[in-house]
Structures are given as C-alpha cells and as structure tokens.
C-alpha cells in the first residue's frame, strides 16, 4: 500500500517536469492552429548539440571505464532490438488488413532508437540524481542497427518470395553503413571519438553541457508540434497502427527494464543504466530510421510507420515511459 502510494506520488511529481510541459505545449500549439514554428536549421542544430554533448561526455568518461562491464549489457541491448522487431512482425501478421511490408517497416522503426527521447531521459535522470555508467550512451547503436537491419532483411526476403523474378540482393553491410552514416549516429560517434582522443573538457563545460537542458526543452516542443501535425497521416491508415504505437513503447520498455534488472543483480548494471536501456527500447527512431527504412523497404507506406511513431509512439515514450521507468527504478532499487 505504502509502496503504491509512494509510487503514485513520485509519478505525479514527474508530470510537473518542464520537459513534459514543453512536449504537451507543442501539441497544444498545433492543436490551436498557432503559427509559431521553430526553423528547421535550429532543429538540426539542436539535435547535433544534444548528440555531441552525449557523445563527448561518454567519450571523456569511457577513458577510465572498465569496458568489460559493457559486454553483457551490450548483448542484452542487441537481443532487445531483435526481439522488438520479431514481436512487431508477429503482431502485424495477425492483422490481415495490413500490408506485410508496412508491418515490417513499423516493427523496425520501433526497434530503432530515438536520440531525442534518449536525451530527455538523461536530463530527467540527472534531475533525480540517478547515476549510470559512462558507456551507456554507447549502447545506442547496439539496438538501433540490428533492429533496422533485421526488419529490412526480413522484408526483402518476404518480397523476394512473393515475386520470384526479383533479383535485388539484400545488402546487410549496406544497411549498417547507411545507419552509421545517418546524422544521429554520426554525431554520437564523432562526440565519443573526440571525448576519447582529445581533451574537450573546457569546451564541454562552457558550451555543450550548460546549453543541453535548454536545447532539450525546445526539442521537446518540436516533438510535440510534430506529433500533432502528423496525426492526420495516421488517420489515413488502419487504426491498428495507433493501437500498436500506444502499447508497444510500454511493453518494449518493460521488457528491457526486466532484462536490465537481471543485469543489475547479475553484473551490477546501474539503476540509471536500466532506465536508459528501457527508454531506448521504448523509443522509436525519428531521425535516421525513417530514411533508412524508406530506401530499404521502398514499397512500405511511410505514412503508416512515421505516423505511428511520431504521433503516438514518441509522445507515449516521453510522457508515459520515462516517468514510469524512473519511478520504478526509484522504488525497486531504492535510489
């Protein structure tokens, strides 16, 4: 009883966080027909700043880290990416009204990771002073890439079966390369490398670190605006996408939270790490995923998977999953 009351109280407190406020504010703005826009150049710059900050910080701290610790969580991360895609494909295979390729693409997008959602989780963890290992942000590609590769490969195998005459080979290395070349992973890896090989402490402390929280607030506003603006796309496709997009983040996140908790008791994976792993699983890719899927599964309808992810999946991941997992960590691990 006490446990539950504590849980609910903490959850309530989370909802006053300005991070969520900006997200919801963005939705309301578009809903009210506001003409306020954040220019695209600013959006691109903010994403770059956030990923550089995450990367630099990771790189600087990884230097002294014991990377052997990273092994098991990395394996778990890959497994989660793969399982999410398989679960998604299974789900959509039950719904006969949905085109197979659309199901594969949606499952892939939800397996992949959103940098924005991830950054929001980091700020909220910091607010609650819940620590995590320096190398956790480096787990990102371990979930993102396998999920995208698997979804694209399976979709192409399926399409090949359908039309025997098709001669296109699936180029796995090509998909991996395209993921790594995407702007999100590029910026993260660049930051990691610079943190590792140079001494960016001053520029980090005077620029990337202090601006992080502010830029994140604007990013949340943009995500909220985009979520509402794209809802009409979702309306043009089957309702099942909305159902999937609502429950998938929660289920994926809980699954990852469970596996992360195992790693906690087994190899001492930190509570903050468990939360971040769960948020990666709950999130669906917004920057690199859509173009990769568009060229990997060209016959899938982008309105379906992007609408599902942007309009429902991401808001649920940010507004429901992050607070939930933080409070779960606080209650379970007593941090």
């Amino acid at each position: 009883m006490d446990f539950l009351a504590d849980f609910l109280l903490r959850l309530l407190a989370q909802f006053q966080s300005p991070t969520l406020g900006f997200l919801i504010g963005g939705m309301l703005l578009v809903a009210c027909g506001s003409k306020l826009t954040i220019p695209d150049a600013i959006y691109k710059f903010i994403v770059f700043m956030l990923l550089m900050k995450i990367g630099l910080k990771g790189g600087m701290e990884i230097r002294d880290a014991n990377l052997a610790e990273m092994f098991l969580p990395a394996v778990i991360t890959i497994v989660i990416g793969v399982v999410i895609v398989l679960l998604g494909i299974l789900f959509f295979s039950f719904i006969s009204s949905i085109k197979k390729e659309d199901g594969y693409a949606t499952a892939g997008l939800f397996g992949a990771v959103s940098a924005s959602t991830f950054a929001a989780a980091m700020v909220l963890l910091e607010e609650e002073a819940i620590a995590y290992e320096a190398w956790v942000p480096a787990l990102y590609p371990f979930m993102d890439i396998p999920a995208l590769v698997l979804a694209i490969v399976l979709a192409n195998v399926y399409m090949k079966k359908q039309q025997q005459g098709n001669t296109t080979e699936v180029n796995v290395w090509g998909i991996i390369k395209e993921s790594l070349q995407g702007s999100a992973l590029s910026a993260l890896i660049l930051g990691l490398a610079l943190g590792l090989f140079t001494t960016p402490d001053k520029v980090f402390g005077s620029f990337y670190e202090p601006l992080f929280r502010g830029f994140l607030s604007i990013l949340m506003l943009i995500m909220g605006m985009e979520a509402y603006a794209r809802i009409h796309e979702l309306k043009r496709v089957a309702q099942w996408y909305a159902v999937y997009a609502f429950f998938a983040p929660i289920i994926h996140g809980l699954l990852a939270f469970g596996l992360g908790t195992l790693a906690h008791y087994w190899v001492g994976f930190s509570p903050g790490g468990v939360v971040l792993l769960a948020v990666m699983a709950a999130s669906s890719s917004d920057i690199s995923g859509p173009p990769t899927l568009r060229s990997g599964i060209p016959s899938a309808n982008p309105s379906a998977y992007i609408g599902a992810s942007t309009s429902v999946g991401t808001p649920v991941a940010i507004a429901v999953c992050i607070p939930l997992f933080i409070v779960m960590a606080q209650t379970i691990f007593e941090v």
């Binding site: 826009t37 954040i38 220019p39 695209d40 150049a41 600013i42 959006y43 943009i222 995500m223 605006m225 985009e226 796309e233 917004d286 920057i287 859509p290 173009p291 568009r294 060229s295 060209p298 016959s299 982008p302 309105s303 992007i306 942007t310």
Partner: protein
C-alpha cells in the same frame, strides 16, 4: 539570333531519390540538369515547402529539369525514372517544347 527547338523533361518527385534520378539522367547522356526545391500535393500525399522543423527529413519534393535536343533521350529519361521509381515513390514527369540558342551545348 537563330533559336533551335529542343525538349525540356521535367520530373517532380521525392528529394530522397534525387541521387538515383540524377544517375539515370547522366546515364542517358544528358549534358546537365537543374534542380529546384519544391513542395506539392498529388495523388499520394502532401509535401511541404515550409521552413519549419521537419523531424522526418528528406520527404520534401524536388523539381528536376533536363534540357535535351534529342527526343529519344528525353523519352529514355522519362521511361527509366518512371519504371524504376514511380511504383514506390510519388512523382510525375512531363515534357515541354523550348527554344535554345546553341544546340551543340545540349548534346
């Protein structure tokens, strides 16, 4: 000033396949092309031209114009682009008659 009749192929399609379309154009032997950013509405979707933040990038349109003074080449470009892309990507293509100054520049 003597003007010579030539053809202008216009392709309006998704920015994400720009590279592939340009390869087809080069492959057909055109001497050049001009690209203009565009938005629009067609049978498939609405594509914006606005400068507001687009979280999902690369889904804007582009308009590509290719001047050729050889009708067969115009046909080849239109055919190949249509066959390769227009099943999966939105796009249209059409032809205009124009008059050019120096035909040798475009062949």
């Amino acid at each position: 000033m003597t003007l010579h009749v030539a053809e202008k192929v216009v392709i309006i399609t998704e920015k994400i396949i720009a590279k592939g379309v340009c390869q087809i154009i080069d492959g057909c032997g055109a001497t050049g092309y001009t690209i203009v950013p565009a938005g629009g509405k067609g049978s498939r979707n609405m594509r914006s031209t606005t400068e507001r933040a687009s979280v999902v990038d690369d889904f804007a349109n582009i308009k590509i114009e290719i001047i050729v003074n050889d009708y067969a080449m115009a046909e080849a470009i239109m055919d190949q682009v249509k066959d390769k892309y227009f099943n999966n990507y939105s796009g249209i293509t059409y032809l205009e008659d124009i008059k050019i100054l120096r035909p040798e520049k475009f062949s």
